[in-house]
Amino acid sequence: MSKHKIFYNARLIDPVEMTDSTGGIYIGDGKVLDIGNHITRDYDAKIAVEYIDVKGKILAPGLVDMRVFMNGVGNQTLKNTGASAAAGGVTSLMSMPNSEPIIEDIALVEYINGRSKTVSGINLYTSAALTQGLEGKQMAEIGLLKKAGAIAFTDGRKSVQNSMLFKRLLEYAKSHDALIIHDVEDEDLAGDGVMNEGLFASRLGLPSKPKIAETILLERDLALASLTKAKYHVSQISCVESLNAVKRAKNENAPITAGVSINNLTLNEFDIGEYRSFLRLEPPLRSEDDRMAMVEGIKNGDIDVIVSSHDPQDPDGKRHPFADAAVGAVGLETLLSAALRLYHSEGVDLPTLWRALSYNPAQILGLDVGHLKTGSPADFIIVDAEHSWKVERTELKSQSTNTPFENRILQGKVLATYIDGRKIFELGN
């Protein structure tokens, strides 16, 4: 058993009390033993402890990322995902079922849960398929999969087009108190589009998809969620119209929550430039007005969650013209650094940011993580908000390095990541 530790002189971010103040944390046996402004170098733990001066750096709950894709469920994949997460300050994550094999089998869920923490080093939870084969035609075994340990149900990148089936899914999931997480895109309206519809897509000559393809399915989902009173979370919204729909539903007390990808918070369609295939993302990058609306949504709490949408792609899949290139980008390692842009230049305070990055996702998923209070697991990170670094693909821990932030300077970096009080990542090591 490692020695008890006291981290003092820290900038404590508390996303529950929404405070940003100087203090410390006392940990032992993998738990938080005490936390608050009263913990200083002079704190008397009554037993021998190690004192660590955080030197005014941020100490905050580890992040909870509820949208991470893994290509498989093998040890190497779990390990790599864990290493990327730890380097990015993500201490808990939920993987999406769109892997090879698809997570729709009870034994598979048990297999992942049985070894995910040992192998990955982090709290790795799995969601399971919402429909069989992610095909949007027949219900998956929601009750049994939930019993086996799946924490949410989703078809990942796919949207259920059939409204009758989706209504039944909500009704059925409600009877098992299961959470449905849904990507929203009307397939017909999206067509073969590969970027946001507008002048820029027309100029590039790329087939485009309109924002209404997202909003129309979201509106349907919200209507059905409020009808059935089932727990519904829209995985990623990306435009003003969708944000307005979410606001309206929340005003009417529908049991819904909403997420946004870090990419749609920090990039816009112009970043595609001359067909940069690493920027081929879902939802597509939208206009600057939409991006700013997403930031506002985080600021005032209409959007609950920020996700990395971590989606590693084989480099060969990106070595194609834009429209033929694979969709998706890695994001675990850059999630926090990119999100800190909202703090540095868009007026989002740190407790608000952490609420969307740790506390809210944990609450939505029903996990007792994402916050630091006496008795909770000592999952926390130390962050230098000012540390500037250039995103270089060769430096990333992820096996795939399709980052949309390639060669950008980001401000803010995770210095150390702790899980159950044990250091699993330290910058430079």
Binding site: G198, S202, D316
Partner: protein
């Protein structure tokens, strides 16, 4: 006199011709002037010169095209280049080869000029970054088809004496047309007024912000027009997804003698081919004295000769620089 000729030497310093976007009026004028000189060459009995002698030109077509490929082939051969046609279709792609692998393979064959057509926007630019030779875009997705816009401009300039201040209507399937896109950009650079006439379902988003006036009605849109540029409507788009039927399309957007009468009296008609007679254009109009459609084909060869030569001039000046 020599000095004057030097001053008139075409100014086109880009390594590739990937699109009209980014070109300046002077570049376009230079290319058109150079192409103008090639018309006479093609009309001689002995058509071949040695400008590109010993050079290798590969026409790499990922999308089949008889006309454009033939035009580039003739252009290259008339300048003395060794021309090789490669139809890639989807075969290599199906085998799992990435476009960048294809580029590396071709590059190893040491071509001097690559003429590329690809079904995906941006593909030609991507290839150009991975090869050492000059690249000409012969059409990429819905993006650009620069030599078509140049040949259209040359045709107009020869018939109207200018491009500036002419009113030019582009009619038909603008949404899927790279020809329209390159023409809109070029005509705007050259100071022409551009109108788009199409049903809303065949217009790209933001069309009105592309420097064009947008019309959904031929009578209104053709009023006061100097040039009517018709576009081809692909057969697969006539069957209900974008427009109800070919018959209905012809009724509202097909160029008939009647509709042409709304334009200026001396208005001329163009079409990039191949035409759907009786759909977007009536035979009476297509074959009339006001039609420039045949001339466009001739100008196509001239423009492509001009472009090939302009790009080769760049290596010559580069080589001189090295020496």
């Amino acid at each position: 006199m020599k000095n004057f000729e030097n001053m008139m030497k075409p100014h086109f310093a880009d390594k590739h011709l990937l699109g009209i976007e980014g070109l300046k009026e002077a570049n376009i004028t230079a290319l058109l002037d150079l192409a103008e000189k090639k018309i006479e060459q093609s009309r001689r009995d002995i058509k071949k010169t040695d400008v590109l002698q010993g050079r290798t030109q590969i026409n790499l077509f990922f999308e089949s095209s008889t006309r454009t490929q033939a035009s580039f082939e003739i252009a290259g051969k008339r300048l003395g280049a060794d021309v090789l046609n490669m139809a890639v279709a989807h075969s290599s792609i199906k085998k799992g080869e990435t476009l960048i692998d294809t580029a590396a393979t071709l590059n190893a064959m040491q071509p001097d000029l690559l003429v590329i057509r690809h079904h995906s926007a941006g593909a030609v630019e991507l290839l150009s970054q991975k090869v050492n030779c000059a690249v000409i875009n012969a059409g990429d997705g819905r993006h650009e088809h620069p030599t078509q816009a140049l040949l259209d401009a040359l045709t107009i300039r020869r018939n109207k004496g200018k491009l500036a201040r002419l009113t030019i209507a582009i009619c038909g399937d603008i949404l899927h047309s790279r020809v329209a896109r390159s023409n809109i950009i070029l005509l705007n650079i050259m100071g022409a007024r551009v109108r788009l006439i199409a049903p809303p379902t065949l217009l790209p988003a933001g069309a009105e912000k592309m420097g064009c006036e947008v019309f959904h009605d031929m009578e209104e849109g053709l009023k006061g027009v100097d040039i009517v540029m018709m576009l081809r409507l692909q057969t697969e788009r006539m069957q209900g997804a974008f427009i109800p039927s070919a018959r209905e399309y012809h009724q509202f957007y097909g160029l008939t003698e009647k509709k042409l009468s709304y334009a200026n009296e001396d208005a001329l008609v163009m079409h990039p081919g191949p035409m759907n007679r009786g759909v977007e254009i009536d035979s009476v109009v297509a074959d009339s004295t006001r039609s420039l459609i045949r001339e466009q084909v001739e100008m196509g060869v001239a423009v492509r000769m001009g472009v090939l030569e302009a790009l080769s001039n760049n290596w010559l000046s580069e080589n001189k620089g090295d020496a």
